[in-house]
Amino acid sequence: MVKLADYAGGPSAWCPGCGDFGILIAVKRALVELNIEPYKILMVSGIGQAGKLPHYTRGNVLNVLHGRTLPAATAAKIVNPELVVIAVGGDGDGYGEGGNHFLHALRRNHDVTYLVHNNQVYGLTKGQTSPTSDPGFVTKTTPQGASEPVYPLALAIAADGSFVARGFAGDAEHLAGLIKAGVQHKGFALIDILQPCVTFNHKNTYDWYRQRVYKLDESSYDPTNKLAAFEKAQEWGDRIPIGVIYRKTRTTFEEQMPALGKGPLVRQKTDPTQVEKLLKEFI
């Protein structure tokens, strides 16, 4: 049995009280509950406070560039579908710099779980606006207030993402459940996580979120209805839903690749002389 201690990582550089700690706990719990050993995990992370998470737990780690988690993560999964691949990044990382990869990973439906620490601000670079900053949010780069934000969940549904969820760093247990479901889901699982940044976001605080979030209950909410899900994804203000917003079964990218028919690419042997038959085509 895998234990929490197996996921003990190095000391963190986050601010005391940061929402990232709740996410870290939830990730560890989910993996322990799923009984997955660290060597089977590959965490791919971007740059930002969120991107440091893998250093604070254990597993294989590929920390990449700002915004580039998804290309690296999805390709690793293609090469070795037996790896449990978790991509981790911030809102700037994922929806700003990495917005294009986000869109296309959703549509291709790679079997990867994607955690976005959404603090609605740029943390590591000290408090600039983010694509998810609430409209009017004032920062040093937007003294006039932020423009309208991106809506990650609505976009994910529009892109026909197959697992679209929102968690809250202040509720690690619920979040752990979402992460478990995301990892178990076959296909691309987006988990956007409301994450208080206690240093630079004095609007969207723990309290602010706590007063608003409520859990979707699958007995009364059907996450397989796309239109209803799209409507639910718009909800933001007095009430903010957390839980699985949309879910759908569809073919993964890996399943579409004929080259994967003989098992993970990483285990295929190379024999240069196999090319002989191709050389003949050129004669």
């Binding site: 990449v64 690296a72 293609i78 296309h104 690419l265 190379t270 196999q274 191709l278």
Partner: protein, 571 residues
């Protein structure tokens, strides 16, 4: 010596390219050495394009500019290329279609469309008729013609009709062309040489090297590499992904390589620009990747279907910060195959990016080559720890500091050890650090890999006079043209030689200096405007070129162009 130059000219969409390719195959099958290049505009229909095919009984390394047979599929082809015709050259055209050709000499009308309709039942086969006519002129072996045509078009009706068309074209000429044609092409030997393009050679090299993952975004002139590999995906267990952009492409191959397989991408300058940050990531995380950079005329979109060698210094210095890399630039189609294999080996041995530089000219030129001896292909995956070795090791450190700078590699999951790396500066374990000592140690470790890498770089090719009065200096795809210029100049009595680099970075400082020791005049021959190799040469060796033969109009450098310019440089 037999040496004949064909040209097929017409609009995009008229099948100039396939006709040219088949013609090359036919000549190769007859035992001829073939070299063929193509010129086309950045459009899908219309405009003007041409395909040149040279057949020779000795090695053909470049196009010679005088055309012996021009197959003109439209009037523009006659107008544009009339001036390139050899003295006794013949222009085959369809007099039923193309009028007002007065004033042009060497014209020979063949009712291409009519013959196509009569024999092939489809006027689109007029190309095939024209091929037959052209080879009829040269009294080529009719059997080879129909063999190759039927292989190319298959055994079905289309194949049969094309054979009928080519034969009819051939016969028409035999019956109607009354003057003696300058060339008589008797087949030589059994013709078991391959005819392939630079891009095809790279794709084959990648398969032979065991590349299992390619992510690339279409961009001329590199697109056909991914297209070829995609077509072999199932058979060779290679996944080819066309992602949203080039940034995704390079970061995908980094992810794939980290996960354990040989991975590559291919692009041109614009796409390469977008990959630069990823290149640095591969350098920092010590992830082996191969990036094919097929150059075209820049800056920006430039001339998107045309050739240039304008990206050398960019490739060598691309990305912020300092890290080891190799830059290889194949000289020939054969080189393209072998250097692709080498690129994968160097990438894995030194765990760092390798850039393979071609250009539109090499990528889409066809040349004959002896069948690659696949038993000579070695796969060197570098220090890659097995599960057993890892188990013995106990603690695994992805970025262990070693004398060679090379840290043993492990594959996530497969080896059982945790593999950790970071784009930030990191310690041996792969975790990010801030202190000066660890930073310095890791920088030095990475840069030490350059020393080994440098030893694996081959010396420049030196060819020509032992005591040269003039030395031509070149790199990459211009090899064939410069070498032929050397041959021609030597015949003219000039003591001249060629020093040519196809493995450029780390710069082979001593070998190049040695090769230039005898040089009196060094003339850089480059397909660019600023003589980038010359600049690099001076930085690395102190040697300064005395002259420059440059071309940057999107067209390749030909032997004739070199000779002409040489006359001005050497008086």
């Amino acid at each position: 010596m037999v040496n004949i130059n064909f040209m097929i000219g017409g609009e995009a969409g008229q099948g100039v390219q396939s006709a040219g390719h088949v013609l090359g195959k036919i000549l190769a099958r007859g035992g001829y050495h073939v070299f063929a290049d193509q010129d086309y505009e950045s459009r899908v229909r219309g405009g003007h394009s041409f395909f040149r095919v040279r057949g020779s009984d000795t090695e053909a390394r470049a196009i010679s500019e005088l055309v012996d047979v021009l197959i003109a599929l439209d009037k523009e082809s006659i107008d544009l290329h009339q001036k390139e015709m050899a003295k006794q050259g013949v222009i085959i055209f369809d007099g039923d279609k193309v009028k007002n050709t007065r004033g042009n000499s060497g014209l020979f009308s063949v009712p291409l469309e009519r013959i196509a309709l009569e024999n092939g039942k489809n006027k689109l086969m007029l190309n095939t008729v024209a091929l037959g006519a052209a080879l009829g002129l040269a009294s080529y072996d009719k059997q080879i013609l129909s063999n190759v045509i039927s292989e190319y078009f298959g055994a079905g009706d289309v194949g049969k009709e094309n054979v009928a068309a080519v034969t009819a074209g051939y016969d028409y000429v035999k019956a109607n062309f009354k003057i003696a044609f300058s060339h008589n092409l008797t087949p030589l030997g059994d013709g078991r040489r391959m005819l392939l393009s630079g891009n095809e050679a790279i794709a084959l090299g990648a398969l032979a090297a065991g590349c299992k993952f390619m992510a690339a975004y279409p961009m001329t002139p590199s697109t056909s590499i991914m297209e070829y590999l995609a077509s072999k995906g199932k058979d060779f267990n290679i996944v080819v992904v066309q992602p949203e952009d080039e940034i995704a492409a390079i970061n995908m191959i980094i992810g794939a390589s980290f996960a354990g397989v040989r991975s590559m991408t291919a692009t041109s300058g614009g796409g390469f620009c977008l990959m630069v940050e990823g290149l640095g990531l591969a350098g920092m995380t010590e992830t082996p990747i191969v990036v094919v950079l097929g150059q075209r005329a820049g800056p920006a979109i430039g001339l998107p279907t045309r050739t240039e060698q304008g990206d050398l210094e960019f490739a060598i210095h691309a990305a912020h910060g300092e890290f080891p890399r190799a830059v290889l630039a194949p000289a020939t189609v054969e080189d393209a195959f072998w250097l692709t294999v080498k690129a994968f080996n160097l990438a894995e041995k030194y765990q760092t990016p390798v850039i393979l530089m071609t250009d539109q000219y090499l990528a889409s030129s066809y040349a004959t080559a002896d069948k690659f001896d696949l038993s000579q292909v070695t796969i060197d995956r570098g220090i890659l720890l097995s599960k057993e070795e890892l188990a013995k090791l106990g603690e695994y450190k992805r970025h262990q500091i070693t004398e060679s700078g090379i840290s043993p590699r492990a594959i996530p999951l497969e080896g059982g050890a945790l593999v950790v790396t970071d784009s930030d500066e990191h310690n041996e374990e792969g975790h990010l650090i801030e202190d000066a000592e660890t930073r310095t140690a890791q920088m030095l470790k990475r840069l030490r890999k350059m020393e080994g890498l440098r030893k694996d770089i081959r010396e420049p090719r030196v060819y020509g006079a032992a005591k040269p009065e003039v030395t031509l200096l070149g790199w990459g795809s211009t090899y064939g043209a410069i070498r032929e210029a050397v041959d021609l100049s030597m015949k003219d009595g000039l003591a001249i030689n060629l020093v040519h680099l196809s493995e450029i970075w780390p710069f082979p400082v001593e070998a190049t200096a040695r090769a230039l020791q005898q040089a009196k005049k060094i003339i850089a021959v480059e397909n660019n405007a600023t003589a980038q190799l010359a600049h690099l040469l001076r930085a690395e060796t102190g040697y300064q070129v005395t002259g420059k033969i440059l071309k940057f109009d999107g067209r390749p450098i030909s032997p004739a162009y070199i000779l002409k310019q040489l006359k001005q440089e050497v008086r």
